[in-house]
């Protein structure tokens, strides 16, 4: 067996910007976010799915009927993130949550800027906080905040 030499270590980053075409459904969703309007899509069973999906999750049929939903809703589940990592929506502790927006039947993944884990509970109401300089990206929806916190 060959002796193990002193291990060489090199810091190495992989960095790449993918440019993706959105297609009409995701494109409409992202266009809506630019205008502070969240859109879902009506599934075959009548549920409104947010973010919209192109195909029905049960039947795989093409879906077409986009539906405007509210920008506030209910936390259906959550987990506290005490140590955010690079690229996440907030650089201070926050909660990941699935938020079921008013008019929607499914939760969308987002950050909730709750400040403290003790603030978080399933069923709480939250409202979208929008980014300035929106470009048509999921990051236009910066995070959610406790509805009562709004002025």
């Amino acid at each position: 067996m060959t002796a193990v030499p002193e291990v060489l270590v090199a810091e190495h980053a992989i960095e790449y910007t993918y440019t993706r075409s959105t297609g009409p459904i995701i494109g409409a969703f992202l266009t809506g976010l630019r205008d502070k309007q969240i859109k879902g899509i009506r599934a075959i069973d009548g549920r409104v799915i947010v973010p919209p999906v192109e195909y029905d999750p049960v039947t795989s049929d093409d879906l077409h009927e986009l539906v405007d939903v509210g920008d506030a809703g209910v936390v259906t589940t959550w987990s506290w993130n005490a140590t955010p990592v690079a690229g996440q929506p907030l650089d201070r502790p926050f909660a990941w949550a699935l938020v079921r927006l008013d008019g929607a039947d499914t939760g969308m993944l987002a950050a909730v800027d709750a400040g403290d884990e003790a603030q978080m509970h399933t069923g709480m109401r939250v409202r979208a906080r929008w980014a300035d300089g929106r470009v048509g990206s999921i990051r236009d929806l910066l995070c959610f905040e406790l509805e009562g916190d709004l002025a």
Binding site: M1, T2, V4, P5, E6, V7, L8, V9, A10, E11, H12, A13, I14, E15, Y16, T17, Y18, T19, R20, S21, T22, I26, G27, A28, L30, T31, R34, A86, G87, G136, S137
Partner: protein, 160 residues
């Protein structure tokens, strides 16, 4: 902006503390000391340079180290006439079979007219100054002709 969104940019970045493995580490350390160390497959006896710790044809570990003197033979080459960062055209890139190795490696050929480069040409490495050596192949600045007679075609025909 009123145009609908049809494209989205999604940047990614991942960071690693990369370690190259045992065979590559030994190879890179040898370069730091001005040596080129390959590995021989115990089954097919082919010598790999750079070594990777395994014979990709036999699927066995390659433990035996072979010190190469660095000289080699041009098996094919390309003259590039468009600029590239740090390189002034025309410049020559060649596949070189190092003496004692069974695979070819790519290096620049300099200190000669690109028109003189040919298959079978004997070449040798030009190393960076000892004080500047790092554990990487950048230690070999380029290859240059040795002035020896060309290698006969039979010597390198399996590597063209």
């Amino acid at each position: 902006m009123t145009e609908p969104v049809t494209m989205v940019e999604t940047p990614i970045r991942l960071d690693y503390s990369y370690t190259p493995g045992v065979a590559s580490s030994r190879f890179l350390r040898s370069l730091e000391h001005g040596q080129i160390v390959g590995q021989r497959c115990p089954r097919c006896l082919k010598v790999y340079m750079p070594p990777r710790g395994a014979c990709s044809m036999c699927g066995v570990a390659t433990d035996e180290e072979i010190v190469l003197d660095g000289k080699g033979t041009v098996t094919t080459f390309c003259v590039t006439n468009v600029p590239s960062p740090g390189l002034t055209p025309p410049y020559v890139t060649a596949w070189i079979r190092l003496d004692g190795a069974d695979i070819t490696s790519m290096f620049l050929i300099q200190e000669c007219d690109p028109a003189e480069v040919r298959l079978g040409m004997r070449v040798e490495p030009v190393w960076v100054d000892e004080s500047e050596r790092q554990p990487n192949l950048g230690n070999i600045r380029y290859y240059r002709p040795t002035g020896e007679p060309d290698a006969p075609y039979d010597d390198y025909k399996d590597y063209v």
